[in-house]
Symmetry: C2
Subunit: 215 residues, 2 copies
């Protein structure tokens, strides 16, 4: 195996270090966060750090770097309290990646990338049309991570909109039925295919497959 020690990492070029460290924790979720500025400007941006935090109450978290590109998203969330999370499909991955370009404040990434906003009655923030899983979220809190000056944003999941075909009888969402992608590093987009699903594991009991749900 190839080994990179801490001093090897320090000696890499910035791009190599970004590529290596961003891909070394495994696949990441691929989502578009939709927001609205207080002046009514739409914003949509790709995020790979959105992570489940708990089911009851339903909560998620994600990481922002206040000095990097997605700060418009963070500013809008702080100002309005609301945002949407939209799974990225194979068909959307190019447009989704293009949202990471450093557009000026007030420019809508929807206009620039060809992604289509969708609005729902009574909800100010835009969802992304064609995304098979769409969440409405409300800002709850944030925890500054002092070790590298990032911010862990915590949000409540207030509503889940999902294509009917993804929902299995026990409430699980089979994401490959919606062509949802995963992110590999900073810029790689991969399409997962379900291999198996397992029942709750118990000591000294053979693991049971829930294979009827497999593709």
């Amino acid at each position: 195996m190839k080994v990179f020690t801490a001093s090897d990492l320090a000696a890499l070029s910035k791009v190599e270090r970004l590529n290596l460290v961003n891909s070394c924790t495994g696949y990441k979720s691929a989502n578009l966060i939709g927001t609205l500025s207080p002046e009514g400007h739409e914003n949509v941006a790709v995020f790979s750090s959105i992570t489940h935090l708990g089911s009851d109450p339903a909560m998620l978290g994600f990481i922002v770097r206040p000095t990097s590109v997605p700060r418009h998203t963070y500013q809008n969330i702080k100002a309005t309290g609301l945002f949407t999370v939209n799974h990225i499909t194979v068909a959307q991955m190019e447009a989704a990646h293009q949202t990471s370009a450093a557009y000026d404040y007030g420019v809508s990434e929807f206009d620039m990338t060809g992604l289509t906003p969708t609005y729902r009655e009574g909800i100010a923030v835009p969802f992304v049309s064609g995304s098979p899983v769409q969440l409405l979220c409300r800002y709850l809190n944030e925890y500054p991570i002092h070790e590298n000056n990032t911010i862990h944003v915590i949000a409540a999941i207030e509503a889940i909109y999902v294509e009917d075909t993804l929902v299995t009888p026990d409430g699980w969402l089979q994401l490959d039925r919606g062509d949802v992608v995963a992110i590999n590093g900073l810029d790689g987009y991969a399409r997962p295919t379900l291999q198996d699903r397992f029942a709750y594991a118990r000591p000294k009991t053979p693991l049971k497959s829930l294979r009827p749900h497999a593709s």
Copy 2:
């Protein structure tokens, strides 16, 4: 689309809510955390919340629920300061899921599941043999998340061990070359295949594919 509002979520059975909310944030990383107790007992446990936090310095975070099964992992990390992160392959996914069973303290999940520990000179904690990406990590800090009594553990990545075939010329790791899986919800294991990789996105510039790296 099917809609679940906050009151719909509250009305679901516990299992349905767990399945739905755990799968609604997208694919998750699939890793085994290897630790050693102060008495020298090996432990290995599946985690789906490990997330990249920053590249310089190289850091990651993950979520623990102090009252749930993986608390042996957390106790060992607090006691020794060290742990390993090991990507799960298609061949390992069944054994990896079995590590989530509630084994008694002191029982090695390596012995119970057929996963094989590997040790490296000068490093006390076990890696998982056959994992194509293996990280040595050191505990840095933790942030209690008051909204649901979970803990966000922050760690430094001290070394990265990776199969040579995964490393591309610019330092990126092409994870599908190692058959690395992603987790869908609590218990679904999916095998991603790279679709495309894109260059740094810029406003008003067509997105460039880095397709030579594609499978």
